[in-house]
């Protein structure tokens, strides 16, 4: 049970749980559609006065904003109480892709060994000094280093989401342009992963299938034709 709580869930269990959330919303007369919140927030900021698109009864959507706040809390709870220090495990083939992008894999054998040693009581806690703000530093990757490298499960690459990267012109641009595309695209397509890929496909909606095909056209273009110029 403890293992189940602290370790990543298998995909089949995660899928069942996401379907459960969708049905809980359905049985409350609501729709599972996360990106609608972006429209609701714009409407709540008073943009409905100038733009018809934001002029609707957004107050009927407050439940979804509450759901959004819950999602933020859920991320905090899962990290703080339901996880152990452990970088995400990725497939071997993807590790090679990362190397081609000149990025480091999230799995660091030395740090994991350190965790194991700590568990076994072989290393005193004071040895277990975390790098500042949990950042991974390429210089500290030499074998045998006593540095504890992971601060909480690593789910995102520092090369993109680390504060230093995000504050550089290139890094900031990646996040800003990505955000624009996500916001614009999800409203143009009338839904995101939750609205189309989960809810729409579950309801056998052909438009949702078209949207999901679009998601993959966009994703494949980005990774195969645009990424080589970025990374």
């Amino acid at each position: 049970m403890k293992y189940f709580i602290t370790h990543p869930w298998p995909w089949w269990f995660s899928g069942i749980m996401i379907a459960a959330v969708m049905f809980m919303l359905i049985f409350n007369g609501k729709q599972f559609s996360f990106s609608s919140n972006f429209r609701t927030i714009c409407a709540a900021m008073g943009l409905g006065k100038k733009f018809k698109f934001f002029n609707y009864k957004w107050k009927t959507q407050i439940w979804n904003l509450v759901f959004l706040v819950g999602a933020i809390i859920g991320g905090f709870v899962a990290k703080t109480f339901l996880s152990i220090d452990r970088p995400i495990k990725i497939s071997k083939t993807f590790e090679k892709d990362l190397a081609n992008m000149r990025m480091l894999p999230p799995r660091i054998t030395d740090s994991l060994m350190q965790v194991e040693k700590k568990k076994a009581g072989l290393v005193s806690l004071s040895d277990n000094s975390k790098t500042e703000s949990g950042r991974r530093d390429i210089n500290k990757y030499e074998p045998g280093t006593q540095e504890m490298l992971s601060a909480g499960p690593i789910l995102q690459p520092d090369e993109i989401f680390g504060m230093e990267a995000a504050m550089s012109l290139k890094g900031f641009s990646i996040l800003a342009i990505g955000g624009l595309l996500i916001g614009f695209g999800s409203r143009y397509a009338g839904g995101c992963t939750s609205g189309h890929a989960i809810s729409g496909l579950s309801n056998l909606q052909l438009p949702s299938l078209v949207a999901v095909i679009g998601f993959f056209i966009g994703g494949l273009i980005m990774i195969h034709f645009i990424f080589p110029f970025i990374f």
Binding site: S14, G15, M24, L82, L155, L181, S202, G219
Partner: protein, 137 residues
Amino acid sequence: MRLLKYLIFGILFGIIMTKSEAISWYRIQEMFRFRSIHMYGIIGTAVIIGVVGIALIKKFELKDFNNNTITFRKKERKYSRYLLGGTIFGLGWALCGTCPGPILVNIGYGYYSMIIVFVFALIGTFLFAVFKDNLPK
């Protein structure tokens, strides 16, 4: 108080997205590169259960907790917007490795740089409203 249950659903959603690692850039990259079954497994399982569940709801005309018959909105049958909008969304999804839900879950997780993605997603939504009448339907 009526809204409290949505807070709980949201927390559950955030925990699921984190524990399934669906909020991870690495997992999204693996998906678009066909390197792992993980994301396909998550979405596929959810959809299979969803298809069966929604079919049952329709067949037995089930009612929700407020005693209203559950109905499902049909999506408009205009395809350009789904294909084009979907493609634009996919570009962003792959670039940032996150879709709208996980943006917020990641902020809670402590990846504060996601706030940039969130703010610009709002700006993107606003830009859609500005240009929507000039876009192919």
